[in-house]
């Protein structure tokens, strides 16, 4: 590492302009994250023109700060409203919402924030020291390995769902089915689009995610408003014990570290994305717990696992971007465009041609994490007041943001119809105890699994023996088989699901 470049980078990171730029990015991201319906990718694409007038370093740090802010902010609505701002915080709601309802909303928010910030900083440090020298490790994960990992993620995360295993299969099957809609990857021919041009790129992910996660929850709460008013919303009491304590911190710290590891691994592999990371981490925390039955009922470890992994994915997705020029997820792909507008080509050339800029961005990312902690700590005091607003005011506002967020996607009225359809589907799934988590994860994973599986079969020319030279793929295939067997065994033995997370 070039020390003079590092010194210059640190100096640039600590100017007033960079504080304002990065702080603004984190704040904007945090607010977008809190509001269900507005998503990270929309926020970045809207913010890119704003960066025209900034220096390249501030522009990029602003956008990365914005990404980080959304990941931290989305925990707030997941915990307080059970309506996650991003799909990747859906796992946070599983324990965050019950904890908030049990009278500890501030504790839940603080755990979420601390897990976010630690996951973020550790993953950023890993990025700085690992990005360039070790980025090529990601290339060891070819189609065979990715297909095996995706299959494992599908089975493992499906195992989290509650209720009847057949209901789980039905929910997962529907997700897989909807995930196959769109243009065929190879022939370019439309599949199941029924003549709608809008479906050529598949069911819009945002519509599915906002519909089943946030909008359907508003339907559920509207119903409670009518029939079960006393027991519906989170109450903010002035409870002096409602804050995070050292014993809690000590208890959740191993979970946060594990979550960071999972998030970094998932983020560094191009394509997997934060939702897979947060659910994987949640599942692993549950398996590792002495008493898994506390999960889904307000377990602090559940929040910590999900949020630490969710945030760790954001910097980790930049490992393949800076090292190889390959974006780890959609937000990272948007960053390529932002770099290019500023006349910078991202990738291995960046370190050679522009090391000062790269180190400045790293410094800016650390700064963003610190600003996020301060802003978040203040922000959760403010946002906790949401719980004092009566639900008949909150529900229409959230519904408005969901619809507005969909309109921003540019799908027009078609998008709104799809959104409402998925909200109704999500409502029915919650009502009849079908796991919408299994559904959503199956929907997100299916297109990637299909492509990688197809690539593997074509590349191997149908020859199974090729897997013998692929130990990583074999390992994950074995894990998948094991997870499947355990799931079936536990279901048969107890007549109950393997895991205890409730479906809602």
């Amino acid at each position: 590492m070039d020390l003079s470049a590092v010194g210059a980078a640190a100096a640039e990171a600590l100017t007033l302009a960079s504080f304002i730029g990065i702080g603004g990015g984190v704040l904007l991201g945090y607010v977008v994250g809190v509001i269900p319906g507005l998503s990270r990718s929309v926020a970045i694409s809207i913010a890119i023109p704003m960066t025209f007038y900034m220096s390249p370093y501030i522009a990029i740090s602003f956008l990365i700060g914005l990404s980080k802010g959304t990941a931290a902010g989305s925990a707030v609505s997941a915990i307080l409203l059970n309506a996650p701002g991003e799909a990747s915080s859906a796992a946070t709601a599983l324990d965050g919402y019950p904890m908030a309802k049990a009278g500890k909303p501030k504790t839940a928010l603080q755990i979420g924030l601390i897990a976010s910030v630690i996951g973020d900083i550790l993953a950023t440090i890993i990025l700085i020291f690992v990005a360039i020298p070790f980025a090529r490790v990601a290339l060891m994960f070819g189609p065979y390995e990715m297909a095996a990992i995706l299959a494992f993620a599908l089975v493992f995360i499906a195992g989290l769902s509650g209720g009847n295993i057949f209901k789980g299969l039905a929910a997962g099957g529907l997700g897989i089915f909807l995930g196959t809609i769109g243009l065929d990857n190879q022939t370019g021919l439309p599949r199941l689009t029924f003549g709608y041009t809008e479906l050529m790129d598949g069911m819009p992910l945002i519509a599915v995610a906002i519909g089943t996660l946030a909008l359907s929850e508003m339907f559920v709460q509207s119903e409670k408003l009518r029939y079960d008013r006393a027991n519906m919303s989170v109450q903010l009491k002035n409870d002096p014990n409602d804050h995070v304590t050292m014993p809690i911190l000590r208890r959740i710290m191993p979970t946060i570290l594990r979550g960071t590891g999972v998030g970094t691994f998932v983020g560094a592999l191009p394509g997997l994305g934060p939702s897979v990371g947060s659910f994987m981490s949640y599942g692993m925390a549950q398996r590792a717990a002495k008493d898994p039955s506390t999960f889904g009922k307000g377990e602090p470890k559940g929040i910590a696992a999900s949020e630490s992994a969710d945030n760790a994915v954001i910097p980790a997705a930049l490992i393949p971007l800076f090292g190889l020029g390959i974006p780890g997820n959609v937000s990272a792909a948007l960053l390529i465009g932002a770099f290019a507008i500023h006349g910078i080509t991202v990738g291995p050339l960046l370190l050679r041609d522009n090391p000062e800029l790269l180190y400045s961005i790293f410094a800016g990312m650390i700064l963003a994490s610190i600003i996020m902690l301060a802003l978040g700590w203040f922000g959760l005091m403010v946002f906790a007041q949401i719980t004092k607003v009566p639900p008949h005011v909150v529900i229409p506002i959230v519904i408005f943001f969901c619809l507005a967020g969909m309109m921003l996607q540019g799908y027009g009225t078609f998008g709104l119809v799809i959104l409402i359809a998925f909200a109704v589907l999500g409502y029915l799934m919650k009502k009849y105890d079908y796991s919408f988590v299994t559904f959503l994860v199956a929907f997100i994973i299916t297109p990637m699994l299909e492509l990688n599986l197809r690539q593997s079969i074509i590349l191997s020319r149908g020859n199974w023996e090729i897997l013998l030279n692929r130990p990583i793929a074999l390992f994950f295939i074995a894990c998948t088989a094991l997870a499947l067997v355990m799931l079936i065994l536990r279901t048969v033995r107890t007549g109950k699901p393997a895991a205890n997370a409730p479906a809602d």
Binding site: L183, Q186, T187, G188, G325, I336, L349, R461
Partner: protein, 312 residues
């Protein structure tokens, strides 16, 4: 490659077609304009489009908002564009593929006749790429290698697959076609050594300078100004070409004077420094100017060639 040389090449393209400056009495917009881009933010079309929007603000004196409507390789945006007002305030910075290719493989609601074409600004860069450390450094060596070994090719569009399939049949190669699901998917497959060679829609611009990739041939009819030593497939003796250009599309029924104004705006843009720089240096696409009539003729010609290619 020398950056100055690139700029010079681009400037040469520009001056070849240099036209008189905008006429004082031509059509002018009266309200903010909307530029539709049929691809997601972050891609090369989007990057060029966003800088172009600022160039046009300078030319027309009105703000230009960029709206991304991704999907189906531009088909979603074109379908939506059918309903746009033909008053010049809504226009598309479009890629021809949505007109020259999508209608052949999937049912779409629009046709070439449904729009007007005001001028072309940027040329496509479809190429054949291989890893930098591959045992072949040219297309001839690739074919020679393929005659001895089974090979894999990462495709992106059914069209480049069709061309490669014919070349493989002609040369007697044992070639398997791997789908990539879009531009970003090629790089990991090629850098990871999973496939032998691949289609590039422009991604080579990032990796050829580092030596990670080699560009072996171009699908385009003309050689690339950035790689004057790399031959086209036609020059190598395979009668197949695949071209694409980025142009201004206007709604059908747009009056001639507005089309003319956009043609002049295109002339202005291809010589406007920021736009030329982002196009040539950052996204490594050549500046290619064609007027409205030439653009429409090119679309029809490419469409016919693609139909012939995909016919069997």
């Amino acid at each position: 490659m020398n950056r100055r040389a690139l700029i010079a090449a681009a400037a040469a393209f520009g001056t070849l077609v240099a036209a008189p400056a905008a006429l004082a009495d031509e059509w002018r917009p009266t309200q903010p304009m909307t530029m539709v881009i049929g691809f997601a933010p972050g891609g090369s079309t989007d990057i060029q489009g966003r800088v172009l929007a600022r160039t046009l603000e300078e030319y027309f004196g009105q703000p230009v908002n960029v709206v991304n409507q991704p999907g189906g390789g531009g088909a979603v945006a074109l379908t939506r564009f059918l309903n746009a007002e033909p008053d010049g305030h809504t226009f598309m910075f479009g890629v021809m593929l949505g007109l020259t290719f999508s209608p052949i493989v999937s049912p779409v609601e629009y046709e070439i006749d449904d729009f007007r074409y005001a001028g072309t600004l940027v040329g496509g860069q479809f190429g054949v790429i291989a890893a930098g450390d591959a045992p072949y450094q040219s297309f001839e060596e690739l074919i020679a290698y393929g005659k001895e070994n089974p090979m894999t090719y990462a495709q992106q569009l059914p069209m480049d697959q069709a061309i490669m399939q014919r070349i493989a049949e002609q040369e007697g190669l044992d070639l398997a076609f791997v789908p990539t699901g879009g531009g970003g998917g090629v790089a990991p497959l090629l850098l990871g050594g999973e496939v032998d060679f691949a289609f590039s829609g422009g991604i080579h611009s990032q990796y050829v300078p580092t030596g990670d990739m080699n560009i072996l041939a171009f699908f385009t009819r003309d050689r690339s100004p950035f790689y004057p030593d790399v031959p086209t497939l036609v020059e190598l003796g395979y009668p197949y070409a695949m071209d694409d250009f980025r142009s201004f599309f206007l709604p059908g029924g747009t009056p001639d004077e507005i089309v003319q104004a956009f043609e002049n705006a295109a002339r202005f843009a291809v010589e406007h420094e920021p736009f030329v720089q982002v196009t040539v240096e950052n996204t490594q696409h050549p500046i290619v100017f064609m007027d409205g009539a030439e653009t429409e003729a090119a679309i029809r010609e490419i469409r016919a060639a693609n139909e012939a290619l995909m016919a069997d």
